[in-house]
Amino acid sequence: MDSALIPEGVKRCSFGKFIFWLVVFGAVLLWGVVAMLLCWFKGLNQTNMNDAYGFALWIWADLGVIALGGGAFFTGLLRYVFAKDELKNIINFAVLIGFICYSSALLILAIDVGQPLRSWFIFWHANVHSMLTEVAFCLSCYFAVLTIEYIPLILENRQIDRVPFFHNLSHNMHGIMAIFAATGAFLSFFHQGSLGGTPAVLFGRPFAFREGVLIWPWTFFLFTWSAAASGVCFTMLITCITRKITRKRLVKQKVMMLLAKIAGWMLATYTIAKIIDTWYWAAVTAPSKGFTLMDFYSNNPLYGIWILVLEIVVCGVIPSIILITRKGRDSSFLFVSAVLLGALGACVNRWVMVLQVMAVPVLTFESWFMYFPSWQEIATTILPVAYGIILIMISYRYLPIFPQERELEG
């Protein structure tokens, strides 16, 4: 029925099946949209946030998707700046995932602020001292870059490509893509870093606070680094999932292994840096403010110190080892586990840096703060997932996302 739109030489599932899944995920999307509208029209009393949890699930989701979206900038950097040419075969998909992640982040932010109609004050009355200002500027700019990177992909749709104007536009855009990719990498470096700075500059919150160099706290670099590592893992993870669902190879194993090796080394170096950071923080920074490491974890009834073990050992050390060893990479089970853990690592880290920061009491006479999100928060957090799946479904169906697909499946 829609075969005219499907890229030439590839096979896609029936239109009915496609529509069925579209409706399924569309329903989830709709649920999120309802929650979103409730938040906009009735206000943030629809959430379970409170004055202790001014930052909660959404900010975590925000930081999380941005970290996971980091695959786009890093792959772009490798492809265009470091000229890892093979990566052109996965860059489209990385850009798509990045686009989904960043648009989701912006959407969540628009729900999260108390006065969405005034969010532009962040630009108009910008405070150069604020990490959020930096985040806002870089995030918007980088989103614009991702849009520019995504547009030529759309233009490659069989029908659109027939229009000479679009064909030429697409062609010209490809030509200058390296510049955008480099700009994107630069911007991304800064906003990932600023996001890392966001909790770390909170010198009133000893759990979050980190020392650093010049104006940049250590987490500035740690966040950028971990986003690169985890983002790439996430891109590979989604590629694996897409392969599984479509039962197609889509990308050559060589490309994946190259990426996996790079991700492995990124993750390994990150994990080492993170361990040093944690040690210094636990041994020097926190005690100078009157806290021991265990003060930060002792009273959490759910996970306590185990979340630190999860973050560093399970999601750091283990996947690093798997990904940097050839054997590990070659075992498909180990490989998938590793990219999954690698992606999870950044999410756990962002969780800790947002929610645990809020939970730890700083005044000696306050106790631990507990929070569980409301359905509206959960629905709006799942909304981007449904949106992402839908966008991948549509893009995969109608756009030549995987250049090697025809060759591999032909």
Partner: protein, 737 residues
């Protein structure tokens, strides 16, 4: 016309660029920022010229001076802030949490806006608006019928006060109408007045020269929790921090205990024994004031023998749980202090308490000779500015006035006490004497404040005609047949004499700060109107044309000073010297207390009820005749009220089976309630402490249905000597919910 792809595209791109460069987006952005600041439902307070009015707060018996800030607007004056009046002798600029929230009462949803007549069942909340003429006519008709039947004595009136012109007008009306049943709301004032009468032979209030005391021994009084005039006491407490000591004796670490220099936990209800134990040490070590004791007291020898024989520190230690050495050192510090002062009356002072205890504490003050002395206990004569001619009674009223009071005050059994409101429900319910046919309530909320709520409700249901003069829809108003709403204190003139516990006579004047906001009427005027409708001797007793005229005439030459300064005080006042301070038969201070340290037995047996439930008071919970306005209830901690649930304090040892914040069923012989548990190390094991002031059923949605009214779980216990309520607690148990 065929639009080419190219031109279509140019159109779109051009349009977008054009729009972006036009002022439109900027205008929209600007509008959005303005619009989000100006949501129509966010009020914009109207500005205007600012002025201030000095007045008196009457929300509690504290009688603080207040200064109200107003703005004049097109639609009339708005009162925008209540502050403490600088230089006022009671509170000098300070103010309490309730006084600060007064404007929420003035403008709040709890106001009764017009006379109301009940249409549904009692307490159902169905009302009909009636005119003032109709309302007054209805009262006159009912009272007239009763009087015609010779039943004038079956009318009773519960009043929040008995001093000042409004209360006096009420009392005067009742007298000339022919009923002896004017009843004031009970408090520790009753016990203190009785103590003064029995030991010093004077009919006067008690005043404490707290500002000058330097060693305060408090037997459970909530010195900074609403006892006496609250703001004044808190101020005094700050002064003690600089030059003085406070010792607080009570089983629970109250705020007063926490702020004191020494907190001595004591087995509840055994205070008398401790007082006499202290007296024992003082007498035995000859630390007492020999001048006072030898020259100005009688019965001392008898008192001494009993105290020495029966109250040795060791014996007292066994009863009270306070060690003998503590008793000794306490006695020494008290007697050796230059201006010691002992006070009693628990918490806010709403329960009159055991007369025995009051007299013992007063004897302690007498031992150290601080009666009518700087820093001591003073007999403060009732202000005597109300000098109206005696009423001329007709035969009906004379007959009515000869009848015994329904509450038993002044009877053979309780000869000296003036009012016994806590006994009223039982008197009505038992039907022993005579039925009450009509009940008037002014400045009081007995349905909420009298212990044993079930009995109170039953009694109310037996009275066929209940009239409330309340400004607010409180529990009593909600359970009445007719409401004749008074102005609130910010809308009316009223004299406010003698703030409770003040050591000098002063009169304050409440002034209308704003015009009456609703169709309400001054209670004074309503009494005049009712009396005038009767005419005859009743009408003649009220010769004034209006309440304001009555007030001006009564205050005479004090009026101008009151209008200008806000208060009048007798700067020459000194308490009577010992030579002529005592009007007892002996002409001396009488150590009448025969040393019987029988503690008041509380209700319930130990087997079924292993624990003891005691109430506690807090400045943040108004437990008198007004309920917490929204600001005040907002200040209540979540260890007191959680959602709609009341939280009780229990020692972790006693509450082992209950988790912090967990649920339990608290039962007493009087009732049971679901509560939440707060583990509190500051309370003696075996005791459950419950806040007073919650569990309102009336008022507004900010206060109603939150927690439990303590009075639902406790009943009154008659003091064997006075007949006043002396219940300091009740036996209780906690079971799993």
């Amino acid at each position: 016309m065929k639009v080419g792809r190219r031109s279509f595209l140019s159109l779109i791109i051009g349009g977008a660029a054009g729009t972006a460069l036009s002022p439109l987006p900027f205008k929209l952005m600007d509008d959005s920022s303005i619009w989000t600041q100006m949501w129509p439902w966010t009020p914009v307070p109207e500005d205007g010229e600012v002025s201030h009015v000095d007045s008196i707060c009457t929300l509690c018996p504290g009688g603080c001076g207040i200064t109200v800030r107003k703005v004049a607007t097109m639609y009339g004056d708005r009162a925008i802030k209540i502050e403490g009046m600088k230089g006022y002798p009671v509170n000098d600029g300070g103010i309490c949490v309730l006084g600060l929230s007064g404007l929420q009462l003035l403008y709040g949803p709890t106001r009764v806006k017009t006379p109301l007549k009940r249409t549904g069942a009692r307490g159902e909340g169905k009302w009909k608006k009636v005119s003032w003429n109709e309302a007054i006519a209805e009262v006159v008709k009912k009272l007239g019928e009763l009087r015609k039947k010779g039943k004038s004595h079956t009318v009773a009136c519960i009043s929040g006060a008995d001093r000042g012109t409004v209360a006096q007008l009420l009392g005067r009306f009742l007298t000339v109408y022919g009923s002896p049943n004017f009843i004031r709301i009970p408090s520790i004032q009753d016990s203190y007045e009785l103590t003064m009468y029995l030991m010093q032979g004077v009919q006067s209030s008690v005043g404490f020269d707290v500002e000058n005391a330097d060693f305060v021994l408090s037997f459970g009084s909530g010195l900074i929790e609403g006892w006496g005039s609250p703001v004044r006491m808190i101020k005094a407490n700050s002064a003690w921090k600089e030059r003085g000591k406070v010792v607080q004796i009570e089983p629970r670490l109250s705020n007063t205990a926490a702020k004191s220099d020494k907190w001595i936990p004591i087995n509840p209800g055994t205070e008398v024994a401790l007082v006499l134990g202290i007296a024992h040490v003082i007498i035995q070590k000859s630390l007492y004031s020999t001048n006072f004791v030898n020259n100005y007291s009688s019965d001392f020898e008898e008192f001494k023998q009993i105290v020495l024989n029966e109250f040795s520190p060791d014996d007292v230690a066994k009863i009270t749980g306070v060690s003998a050495s503590t008793i000794e050192s306490l006695a020494k510090s008290f007697a050796r202090a230059s201006k010691p002062l002992a006070v009693c009356g628990r918490g806010h002072g709403e329960t009159p308490g055991s007369l025995n205890e009051f007299m013992a504490v007063h004897a302690l003050n007498a031992l150290v000779g601080n009666i009518n002395k700087k820093g001591g206990v003073w007999a403060v004569p009732d202000p005597d500015y109300i000098k109206w001619p005696d009423v001329k009674m007709d035969r009906v009223s004379a007959d009515g006035m000869r009848k015994a009071r329904i509450d038993g005050a002044g009877s053979k059994r309780y000869p000296d006490v003036r009012y016994l409101l806590d006994r009223l429900p039982d008197a009505i319910n038992s039907g022993k004497d005579y039925p009450i046919e009509a009940l008037f309530v002014a400045g009081a909320n007995p349905v909420y404040t009298i212990p044993d709520s079930n009995a109170v409700k039953e009694a109310f249901n037996k009275v066929p005609f209940v009239v409330s003069f309340s400004s607010y829809m409180d529990e009593t108003a909600a359970n009445s047949d007719l409401i004749l709403p008074n102005h609130v204190f910010l809308e009316r003139y009223e004299d406010v004499p003698a703030p409770v516990g003040l050591q000098k006579p002063i009169i304050g004047l409440s002034k209308p700060v704003v015009k009456p906001q609703f169709n309400t009427k001054h209670l004074g005027d309503v009494i005049l109107l009712i009396a005038k409708s009767f005419g005859g001797r009743i009408g003649d007793a009220f010769p004034w044309e209006s309440y304001e005229a009555c007030l001006k005439e009564t205050l005479g030459n004090k009026w101008d000073k009151l209008i200008n300064d806000g208060f009048w005080s007798d700067s020459n006042f000194r308490p009577a010297a010992w030579e002529n301070a005592f009007s007892t038969p002996s002409g001396k201070f009488e150590f009448l207390n025969k040393g019987k340290a029988e503690s008041i037995k509380i209700e319930g047996d130990k087997q079924s009820y292993p624990l003891i439930l005691i109430p506690y008071d807090s400045m943040r919970l108004a437990s008198g005749c007004i309920g917490d306005p929204p600001f005040v209830i907002k200040t209540v901690e979540d260890t007191v009220l959680k959602g709609k649930e009341i939280v009780v304090e229990v020692n972790p040892k006693t509450a082992k089976e209950f988790a912090e914040g967990g649920y339990a069923i608290l039962s007493t012989p009087k009732g049971q309630a679901k509560v939440r548990i707060h583990h509190f190390d500051g309370i003696m094991p075996g005791i459950v402490a419950m806040p007073r002031g919650l569990g309102h059923t009336a008022y507004d949605e900010y206060l109603a249905d939150k927690g439990i009214n303590f009075n639902e779980l406790i009943g009154p216990v008659d003091d064997p000597a006075s007949g006043l309520n002396a219940a300091w607690g009740i036996r209780a148990k906690l079971t799993r919910a």
